[in-house]
């Protein structure tokens, strides 16, 4: 059961991750076209930056704890300089 469910979440989650990193960690939007092909490293770097800021395990991957943190209600001011 969980595996299939996760598959569907993955698509939804990548949107959450990208939007979060664009809003708060200065992930450039114009990179979006190759985010899915070649820009993953850039996104992974931003993800590491966010994980480090929140004291999460720095994996560069949108793991469970990271997604939970991204879903928390929060202030709209970015965490890093835009």
């Amino acid at each position: 059961f969980p595996a299939a469910h996760e598959k569907e979440d993955e698509g939804k989650n990548i949107n959450l991750v990208e939007t979060y990193l664009q809003n708060f960690y200065n992930l450039q939007k114009d990179h979006r076209p190759h985010l899915r092909q070649g820009g993953q490293n850039h996104l992974a770097e931003k993800l590491k930056e966010m994980q480090e800021f929140f004291g999460l395990q720095v994996t560069g991957k949108p793991d469970h704890d990271t997604l939970e943190m991204m879903k928390k209600p929060r202030c709209g001011v970015p965490d890093v300089e835009q």
């Binding site: 809003n23 708060f24 800021f53 929140f54 004291g55 395990q57 943190m69 928390k72 209600p73 929060r74 202030c75 709209g76 001011v77 965490d79 300089e81």
Partner: protein, 367 residues
Amino acid sequence: YVFTPGNPKWKKNNLTYRIVNYTSKMRRTDVDEAIQKALNVWSSVTPLTFQKIEDNIADIMISFAYRDHKDNSPFDGPNGLLAHAFQPGEGIGGDVHLDEEETWTKDGTGYNLFIVVAHELGHSLGLSHSNDPGALMYPTYAYTDPKEFLLPQDDIDGIQAIYGQSNDAVQPTGPTTPQVCDPNLTFDAITTLRGEMMFFKGRYMLRKHPERSETELNFISLFWPNLPSGIQAAYENIERDEVLLFKEDKYWVIRGYDIAYGYPKPIYRLGFPKTVKRVNAAYSDETTGKTYFFVADRYWRYDENKKSMDHGYPRKIIYDFGKIGRVDAAFQKDGYVYFFHKTTQFQFDPRAKRIVSQMKSISWFNC
């Protein structure tokens, strides 16, 4: 704490604010009070003053807005983004915008307006987000009872680095966030909870799952918004799947995320004499059904089946448990009882009736 890049700050200490409009979710007087209290969080630790004006342009304009409200940072409806604010400066500088589609409240339901405005005002004064999870300037929302709110030390240090100290003779200080591997860490109370361990400290709870190496730090209010901070004793009744939490002369019964109906109740209904004002520590022996309460240098024994205190108590702790001093916290795990006294932890074998080992208080955290 982190300064806003470029270190913007107000060039004057006497600032003005104006509440441009009001949310429909709260009474106007409650909104006024919440904002006044939020401003006082910062004015009480700096030379800053805030004067309310009713019209014209104030330094800090506070307003509730919907979705796209023409500042290139649209809101997103309920939850998610709650509010934002602008760094010190002319025009939009210093202004606070709150998402009108949130459920603003003055208690622990929805989003507490005081807490959110106090955070945003930190931005209005030149602070950015802090990565201290206990700081007011931490980016995610965390409820604290406004009546118990104390500006954390991280935020005091940050705002005073910008504007200097308050003019009060006595400088205010704030709570610090517990660091799990701090050798000086002591605990208010400890209990097991469905196989995990909960260490209570101030308004925090350190949560340790036996299968995970890292320890989670959460606010008590994250799980139980109606519980106070500063829990003084706790124990788990495994058979009933309940945790009992004690503070001063009251106790609560917790079942998972729920606080049992009708609590808190006075501790005297458990059989304590009126001379007992608070309980320091407690643990429950699952095999015997007996619960041990530690108060100052004595302890009581409670029979969970008879629901009454055993006769012949209180007794002196030193008589039956040895030289463990005053007990700050205690819990039982795998047949052993662990007593915490300041930064020392004693492992007691109830079968041999003696202390079998002594460790540091933070021994459970894989430091």
